[in-house]
Symmetry: C2
Subunit: 584 residues, 2 copies
Amino acid sequence: MLRTHTCGELRITHVGTEVVLAGWVHKTRDKGGMMWIDLRDRYGLTQLKLEEGVTAPEILTAARELGREYVIQARGVVIERISKNDKLATGDVEIQVQAISVLNPAKLPPFLIEDDTDGGDDLRMKYRYLDLRRNAVRKNLELRHQMMQQARAYLDGNGFIEVETPVLIKSTPEGARDFVVPSRMNPGEFYALPQSPQTFKQLLMVSGFDKYFQIVKCFRDEDLRADRQPEFTQIDCELSFISQEDILNTFEGLVKHLFSKVKGLEITDFPRMTYADAMKYYGNDKPDTRFEMKFVELTDLVKGKNFKVFDEAELVVAINAQGCATYTRKQIDELTDFVKRPQLGATGLIYARVEADGTVKSSVDKFFNQDDLQAWATAMAAKPGDLILVLAGNPDKTRKALSELRLEMGERLGLRDKTTYAPLWVLDFPLLEWNEEAQRFFAMHHPFTSPKPEDIELIETNPGAVRANAYDMVINGVEVGGGSIRIYERPLQERMFKLLGFTPEEALAQFGFLLNAFEYGAPPHGGIAFGFDRLCSLFGGADSIRDFIAFPKNNSGRDVMIDAPSPIAQEQLDELQIQLQLKK
Amino acid sequence: MLRTHTCGELRITHVGTEVVLAGWVHKTRDKGGMMWIDLRDRYGLTQLKLEEGVTAPEILTAARELGREYVIQARGVVIERISKNDKLATGDVEIQVQAISVLNPAKLPPFLIEDDTDGGDDLRMKYRYLDLRRNAVRKNLELRHQMMQQARAYLDGNGFIEVETPVLIKSTPEGARDFVVPSRMNPGEFYALPQSPQTFKQLLMVSGFDKYFQIVKCFRDEDLRADRQPEFTQIDCELSFISQEDILNTFEGLVKHLFSKVKGLEITDFPRMTYADAMKYYGNDKPDTRFEMKFVELTDLVKGKNFKVFDEAELVVAINAQGCATYTRKQIDELTDFVKRPQLGATGLIYARVEADGTVKSSVDKFFNQDDLQAWATAMAAKPGDLILVLAGNPDKTRKALSELRLEMGERLGLRDKTTYAPLWVLDFPLLEWNEEAQRFFAMHHPFTSPKPEDIELIETNPGAVRANAYDMVINGVEVGGGSIRIYERPLQERMFKLLGFTPEEALAQFGFLLNAFEYGAPPHGGIAFGFDRLCSLFGGADSIRDFIAFPKNNSGRDVMIDAPSPIAQEQLDELQIQLQLKK
């Protein structure tokens, strides 16, 4: 090797050793006949020392020409540092340099290779290979590596078998938009890239593989909102001969294992909540349970006092922001603006303060007397110093707005600490959700999710009321994984397809292989998939997944570093027997 | 869980335990009031026992209606078997059944779920989910799983970091044909699926990641010969600050680790051979070194005896098939036909037998006297009983034909035992190969491979003579991996692109990101990629990779199970702003 040690390895015990290091020139200092070079690699920094009168003059001359990010090899002897650096693992020693050679010079990087860089997002993405040199980004990928190894260790250790499923599959109309790949050997036909290995993992269960996993790339051609990627990674799992309880336990185990091995955190509490309760108490199917501030419904309590907003509202619901009675008019106005933003669309925010003496002052004192307001305070368990925030209106919209307000208050109160983790399961999701635009039901999870046995009879009569054997794992308000117990009987799967608007012919054309497979001895089975990018960013304490992906794409789906996608040659199009037909 | 134990788990120590098993009905026997059911899952087989007078009549009745491959759950007590079955891990016990429930019935499978199935290839592929139930195929995937875990354990243990590189990348003209993916968000532009993560792993080296690996899907839109797949898996690795020697040692280590952990075999000998020697002694850059039978060149020895075939040949070369002097006329004719096949195209086969008395009889006795032939025998180290097989003609064609003949003789002599493994490195490949059709040089490995420093001066003057820092790992005549020390300096990379016929503009448009990256401090680096499907099939002792892939495609690139590729909707084409233009 071109080195004897890495730049993170040398300690006081190495003093006297002759070493060869290789790495990047991170910084140089040249002062009073002394020169120091911080040499960097992914393992750390080591200080090289050159000295007039000690180091050969030609080496000093060469060293003085080194620029930032030059790749060099240095030979020398480890010596003890006079002024030690506690912040550096190698800070007790330095290298008395005897030889330096430049392995490759470097132009000045377009931004600083430091934790706090001066590079903007666009520049960092264009020069991603330089951005990846920064500690912050490198550590994210090291974390991701660890997460992968530990996830596999747990699953392998629990009898799961890793099976690779195909990337070139078949386009299906259900779900998000597919990326497609024209087939040259089958002109006029296309492969699709998988949105998930769903049907394949179910077929593996039919095959008897029993416990399957894969850490696998999936693809969705959706308009990219911030923090979505066209290609993303899942930890994908499926098991046979299990109940929902087995799955919850197995994957609580996985996540506890990851927290323990990767973060050194022991997760003891893993509560479960029904979808209905999550919506009722948090207005959200992925509640952030790092803090309480649960919803309290005041609808019945507040009606009949001639306050039109409440009297006409289907739902009146409130949260208690503890200790916020001191909020100024201006702060309350901010909150009002927050809930009135177009994406939330609340018509206004009503508040009530519990004063130090226990009296309650509200923004609707005109309509409610002190007894009324005391009843509010009691319902909200509000104590002196607390601030009650009330929204009213259409239930779905109101819950959504209050959920956002709750998160905002959590943020303001410092209750959403990124180093605290509050995981839970959300259970009993509805099987279907009504789509106004399409005027039909869509599967809330996917068409292969089984209804709860006790709700099956409602499938045709009251589909919206059918609950599914479906579960999401939520951590800190982020859905990190979701899954379901699957349908494994052809007749039920056919009923489901019918409900989703498939004709029998369409169902057969798209999913005939699965319907057929169910007739050849399909075991009861179920599974889960974790959003791996998201899980990594959560473990890394970051909001964005982008810096946990080595080479991400921007919001237009472009890789600005390699400049993809790009036009292809006419001959390629001809071979594929397709041509462009660009709209004006 | 729907079971207390698997079907491979129960032993004599479990006698008396009440158990619940779940699995597939593999076979039933019903005889003289007794009934046995072989219940199967991926862990094994367990015998269930039902008995008139002991088992409840309704259970017996139900059991008699079970068909092959029904999925059932059975409850009962473990009892000792009277006639034990040594061949079965669970063969000491059986289950006295107390209850059976059918979890899912099954239609009669279209072929037998047995090691020796009656299903043809097409049928097995259409019902791959049933084929995967067969022991033989299931074990291949279990082997693959183990290989993956062990490969990662070794690489992780040696400081490699697993990084996922993108699947949606940029089409490049060099190499095989790309699969492309039209971009909806960037109309008229296409992504390409990676033929390998080559440039990304090099950028990771520029980023300082030092030691990278990934077990990754790669894609090539090539006409599929038997045993090629449009999507395949590589163990992909790259290292910085290393010499070729470090790479050879590291990956010898990987393969030794795999043999040891997966097969329980300790590989001690890992020879190295230059490309030149491989071609000279085996006529092949991936020699099967499980047996000797090296080429001996007789060109000089055999000229000038008026035998036109030899006199006019550029190369006369022979192998010694030991002990084959007894070959009959018919057998020799078979070998002659073998080398005269169009794909080999030899004009004929000359042979010489060493008789028991040491005299040599040849098919060209007219031209060569006994002294001449004795000289042949000496050159060939042929002893009484040996058969010398000689080919003559154009060097490349002749070597190729003799290489095939050598393998054929190895096969006939039983020298190619699938449980013996002979790995080696082939080194010092040529950098370039001339392509007659394109009338230019192509990179033999790829355009990023570095020339040997001592040959760099020949790049412009005698490109064909330049040797590369490139190496292949060969096991039993199969190239399982290959790699090179890369170019890491922009000027040399530019020279290389020029040699390959790129204009400077083309080089920039295609690989500008890499050329730029080389200017910002690129370390010396190199790597290797293993064909993982091939490696698994080799470890599994099989010739075909297909049964080591869960859901392979056929020779037309079709997945006949899911029926992909397939036509897509006009709306999908419209959204992508492309249309079909099918040739008649």
